[in-house]
Chain length 103, copies 2
Amino acid sequence: MRDVYSAVADPTRRQIIRMLASADELPLHELTAAFPMGRTAISKHLNVLKEAGLVSEHKVGRETRYRLIPEPLQEIRDWVAHYEQFWDARITRLKSLLEEEQP
Amino acid sequence: MRDVYSAVADPTRRQIIRMLASADELPLHELTAAFPMGRTAISKHLNVLKEAGLVSEHKVGRETRYRLIPEPLQEIRDWVAHYEQFWDARITRLKSLLEEEQP
DNA sequence: TTGACATGACACCATTTGGTGGCATATTAT
DNA sequence: ATAATATGCCACCAAATGGTGTCATGTCAA
């Protein structure tokens, strides 16, 4: 199995996630058509996403359809949420400084 | 410059971020002490974080102090927020299914 | 002033990553 | 039956990644 952070680190894989989010289910060849690289490369990326639990696959006839499983992204959301307070605090400090300067 | 997603993909770098978040400012040798690897490795990780705009450095005497810049994490927060609706929708569907089964 | 400390810069290395192409197989269309 | 399509699987490859060690330099303390 594999880290969801590293699964999402690649821009190609993020685009795959975006496509699957807006299309419910897509076969490999249709995904491949959207990229400037070959089928094998996309297949590998899908495997990485699968290892991170972000996609599921099932065969329909001769094609393999992929579907997004969004839940693992919650881990990233929770992680980054922990740091929201820091930029909030910085913005608050900045605002009060500006108010001091221009009363 | 470098992608904030890939900067955050490494567990060592996430731990560095965590340490900097709770300590405001730390020198390289103090960060290094928390890890099972050498100073050069941590220095490289800090450079990656700096290229992603996630840390700033300034020298104080003979040591270089590092500080967290949390703002670039907003990009990740915004990106993942876009997918919250999907797992929300799945949970809603699951709930209504359960209510149907056990009325 | 001398020695210890903190770092930067560099060369080096093994492994992972992100891509390629080719071949075999299952399915569909003609 | 034959041809085209969709895919899995494998070997291969260049470049990036994540470590290491060494050496030179600037700073602080005794």
